[in-house]
Amino acid sequence: MKLAPVDYTILAVYFAFVLGIGWMLRKKMSTSGDFLLSGRSVPVWITSLAFIAANLGAQELVGMSASGAKYGIMTAHFYWIGAIPAILFVGIFMMPFYYGSKARSVPEYLKMRYDEKTRTYNAFSFAVMTIFSSGISMYALGKLLQLVLGWDFNMSILVSAAIVLVYTFLGGLTSAIYNEVLQFLLIVAGFSPLAILAVAKAGGWHGIQARLGATTLAGGMSGKVMTHAWTYMGSPHSNPMGVELFGMVAGLGFVLSFGYWCTNFLVIQRAMAADSMNSARRTPLIGAFPKMFLPFIVIVPGIAAVALASMGPSVYSIPLDATTHLPNYNLVITTLMARFYPAGMLGVGLTGLVASFMSGMAGNVTAFNTVWTYDIYQTYIRPNAPDRHYLNVGRATTVVGVLLSIGAAYVATKYDNIMDLLQLVFGFVNAPLFATFLLGMFWKRGTGHAAFSGLVTGTVAASLTWCLTVAEGKGGILGTVYTFPSAMAQSFWIALMAFTSCFLVTLVVSLATKPRPAKDLEGLVYGLTKIPQDRGSWYQRPAPLAVIIIAILLVLNIWFA
């Protein structure tokens, strides 16, 4: 694919704007709170879009279209059964504790609720995870631009990292959040025309259904599975994902998604930057509206690509990997762009891809910053320094975070479908964490020793499950007890094992250890916290918003069942 001068102009305009936003915000950064927490002053529409955009990294865009082509509309479960219920839960039930406790980070909430060691455990594992996520995102983009445009891998990584570094260094979290909104709008602008054009070319959704219904997938299944989200979920052998109903709903829908959206500081930090408790609670809910419809622009083009390929190679064919000669689904989205976008719009599409990468990376770097500065540096290395000092540490950590991400990018080269690796990492870190929070926020009996031993057990259980089971030739280092039909099924079950063991151990150890006095837990646990009364019109209150979202969600699930 070759870009025209107009495409490069669009990329340059985008770079100018993100740097400009960082430059305009530089003077507002006078305390560490301004830099790391946005001074809790960001309007709700901005935090909502940033909440969604920080998660919408390049690996998500590329991975989701790849999964769309590989698994079909079932991929939308990552949104409809996965993200949305968890997003509703965090906004309605958990945000009052996060925002109300005045904690500056998720690990700091753990310190207030449990104890120091639980916080430290979480802070370190989170720090490692953000660096890896950011590295994977970088790797995904660098590889893609190399394959598609022939750009130098090192060059594209270094240039985009440098730009992210400059605007987060100048304007801190506010700059990252503002740019995430701009990036989100650009992603929608750059990707939605592709969805419309590709679906229209394949004969609309009905045309896609008809074309895919007539094809046979690589594993011998009928192509019908590609256009149904629920119908073929009865057995892991009847759908390409290799997942059955229980694994999907419990593993992905409950453990993985709740673990991610309810405890991951990367997204929670966006809501905590909101200007009031009401805004903080509405941030995830308002974000859920665009989130629900994202499958149409990130997954559907992948499905349309398979339908187009069935129309013959003169129309489109799924790109093959140069060495293995198997389909390389990660290239679907860019090859579709090349077929559908003329010079000009092609520039917008590719800039959208670069933007998604940057928003993912900036999100990780700013979250890493705050956790490192407040939860690790201020706690262990230098407590009680003047605030000016922590502002400087925050700035310096931005540089270190970017450098570490670049390092991680070179580590992340083993897996073909990047989503699988991400899910695996989340299974190790996030999945047990949700059990800890659930018991912490809704059960005042939960204790610090219990939380810590639960988290450690959960992580060990996750690692053991991975070491004892095999899927697609991966895992099974210590032997093979069970073989999963797919890596995705394996990661769902890893998450389930981690969650269950953490939950049980935390429960049992809590009952065996001394409870904390109720007055220490005010504002941190349900029953000992004043839940704010919601006032105002329906769109200003979390509950009515949640009802509307659930209604739309039901319609979408039934429509695509």
């Binding site: 669009i10 985008y14 305009m24 709008l185 559908f340 976008y341 000009g344």
Partner: protein
């Protein structure tokens, strides 16, 4: 605090104008699979969105003043 609607409004206005210009003055620029003048329509949509953001920002700043 900087009103984000101003930079994002300008961004989409500029992007919209570039694409609109392509769509009007180089209408023969087409991709392999699309028969429509993609630049023209998407440029128009982006321009309208950009101007709308600027209008909202301008109204908010007038109310504040």
């Amino acid at each position: 605090m900087l009103d984000l609607r101003v930079p994002s409004g300008w961004f989409f206005t500029v992007l919209g104008l570039i694409l609109l210009g392509m769509g009007l003055f180089a209408p023969e620029t087409r991709a392999a699979l699309s028969d429509a003048n993609v630049n023209l329509y998407s440029g128009l949509a982006m321009l309208v969105f950009g101007l709308f953001m600027l209008l909202m920002a301008w109204r908010a700043s007038r109310r504040a003043a």
